[in-house]
Amino acid sequence: MSFIHPLALLGLAAAAIPALLHLLQRRTPPELDFPPLRYLSEAERESARRLKLRHLLLLILRTALIVVIVLAAARPLVRVEGGGAHEPTALVVILDNSPSSGVVVDGRPILDRLRVAAHTSLARTTAADRVWLMLADGVVRGGSRETLLASAESTTAGWQRLDLVEAVERAARLVHAEPLPGREVHVLSDLQRTALAAGRADVPDGVRVLTLAPGRAVPNRGIASARVTEGAAIVEVTGSGAATAQPVPITIRIGRDRGASAARGLAALGAAVTVPLPAQSIASGWWTGEAALEPDELRADDRRPFVWRVAPPGRVTATPGAGPFVAAALAVLRDARRVGDGRDVVIGDIPSGARSVVQPPADPALVGQANRALAARGVPWRWGETGTPGPIVAPELAIIAGVQVTRRYRIQGAGSGERGEEGVLATVNGEPWLVRAGGVVLLGSRLDTAWTALPATPGFVPFLDALVNRIVAGEADVATGEGAPRVEFRTRGTDTIGATVFGPDPRESDLTPAPATVATAAFGGKGRAEVLEDARFASERFLGTRRADFSGVLLVLALLLAAAELGVATRTR
């Protein structure tokens, strides 16, 4: 039992008043002569037992009356099964307004249902509760009930993904730190399976995690990623539901600012589709585009912007040490105006010029000299011992992936010998084969068929193109971020030095809800967490601390006691 106005309990001291009055009244009664005292004594003797009982009853009734009135004034809250108020509770309402909450089910966004549940939870709180509201941005919002209600009401589907396990753990820790009788976390989410990270939230004892069961799942398709490489847009489609098995049309729009042009393609769920870009997009400069799907129930992932930069043709010089294959490829590129003459980029077996593509010397005896030259340029990589043959692994350079390398030097970091993955563009047998440091690109093999099959492959010329125009010059800095689909450019002076592409997290496109058992386990396990349908969620809310205001019953009891006291007091026998 708890009290809304516990200070009123100080009034319980007044319960001693009847006993005190009883004692004080007996101290000094007036004295009167009364001759027939024998009759009086006899009457008293006969009534002594009844009078004692009556006095005791009156004392009990009056004391109880005061106690009951004081208790009623303190507004006691008694644990009940049904409705009623609740004991002071620390509550965090997690309202998942991630992009997936915008999916329309049965004609209205699922966020509407979540918002109503959040409103009900917040509206049921009292001034004695401590309440917070957590949205998908992970920010815990405190404040008055009215403030939080307004926040919940004005919440719209956002662009940030919410890791529910992490959110529940944070919320549980927050309410656990509050010295209140009740501690609850209400999870109002579409409960995507992808929102439950691996692992399990550490929920302290005494914290109840109530999760609203997800509603009906709908199929969805979304663009997981879109990027441009080598003159083509690579778009990956993701989604959930049976209807996503069919390939879907994708529209690529390019150059919004320079007169839009479009390309189309078909993409299947989980596969990346390459859509060749129109010829004009080969021109140098920064380009933006957008991949879009036909609209479906979740609009947030139906389009995704992308950005790429086409560098101007590099002016390249190949030293004699570069070999015949390089010279031939450069001639092709020069004919295609992909490169020009000049010393912006020098290809050879020692670093020279501002930017160099360096391959190991054909003569092993010169390796040491070449390493010293690299050291003089401040390059933190060295050629080491010869390595084992193997295929090239290059996630970012699909055109050379899988090409066999028969001879190579191990590229090792200077000093400690290990430099991690920084600057590594391709590997062979897990060891760096193509690395970049500043303006120097280092190859583990010579571009010669005696070392690798690469010069004999169709991708050799594009590879060399990428090497001198893009890789050695430094990739355009394109970052990604969560947010409303858009592109933001970073500038330095008048130069654009990078861009950030915003869009929803691809995992938001998978609307598959987590089974109740999985969610329960992720949110602390049985005994702490429950996944409940709407009706049960409403009834279980604050159930652990639900209290009914008992003051009304006490006032009725006080009236009965007063009536009983009046009856006993006025009754003379």
Binding site: R26, P29, E31, P35, P36, L40
Partner: protein, 294 residues
Amino acid sequence: MPAPVRLDLLDPAEVARLGGIEIVAEGVVEGFLAGLHRSPFRGFSVQFTEHRAYQPGDELRYLDWRILARSDRLFIKQFEEETNLRAMILVDASRSMAWRGTPERLTKRAYADRLAAALALILLRQRDATGLVTFDEQVRQVIPARVKTGQWTRLVRGLLDTPDGLGTAAHAALQRLTALLARRGMVVLLSDLLFDRDLALTALRYLRHRGHQVVVFHLMDPAEVELAGPPEVRFRDPESAVSVVVRPRELARAYADTVRREIAAWRTACRRHGIAYHHVQTDMPFGMALRLLT
């Protein structure tokens, strides 16, 4: 001509304010006798003794018609008593009798004195020999029963000369009376009967056994019948100084029951022994109390 005021029917306290015992008693008796068609205390004497002037209230049957015819004057014939009626009035003068519930009322003693004086006057007018005994713990005054002139004055003085006593020892006083009342007659006891009932009844029964006609007036103040007072009060017995703290309101009904039982017990016991018992409250008009004897 306005009807004369009958003092015997007025409030005793109001009547007492008119004057002393004599005046009150005479006024009461006059009113009482005027209201009677026939005296209940008419004696058995038939032998004429003397005449006296007619007074309003005298019965016309005793008017001497011969003198009226001769001299046109009114005279009443008086007769010598020939019966053995001797009345002895016993007045309890104990301390408890000097109590009244409110100042507006007479004390039981004052009421008893005036009632005794009135009764004596009636008896003496009938030529019944009337005596008086006052007592508390002991017998204070004994005036033997006589019928001679001036007896009533002596009786009244005996009442006035008896101060309020202390305790009550009715048994001893009544026992002494048995020796004084050698001849059979009427014994009228005026008391609040706040003494041991069995002992008192033993004495009264003895008187009855000796052939006396015994009449008991049980005097009570109305405040002794219905218990009232402050919410809580310490009541003290003025005779024994014993006290008890009570709440009159919660004990009122039990007390009233006890009083009713006590009165019923006295009445039953008296009836069993042939004793006339009358319960009289001090707010009862004297005429009503006298009427109890008819």
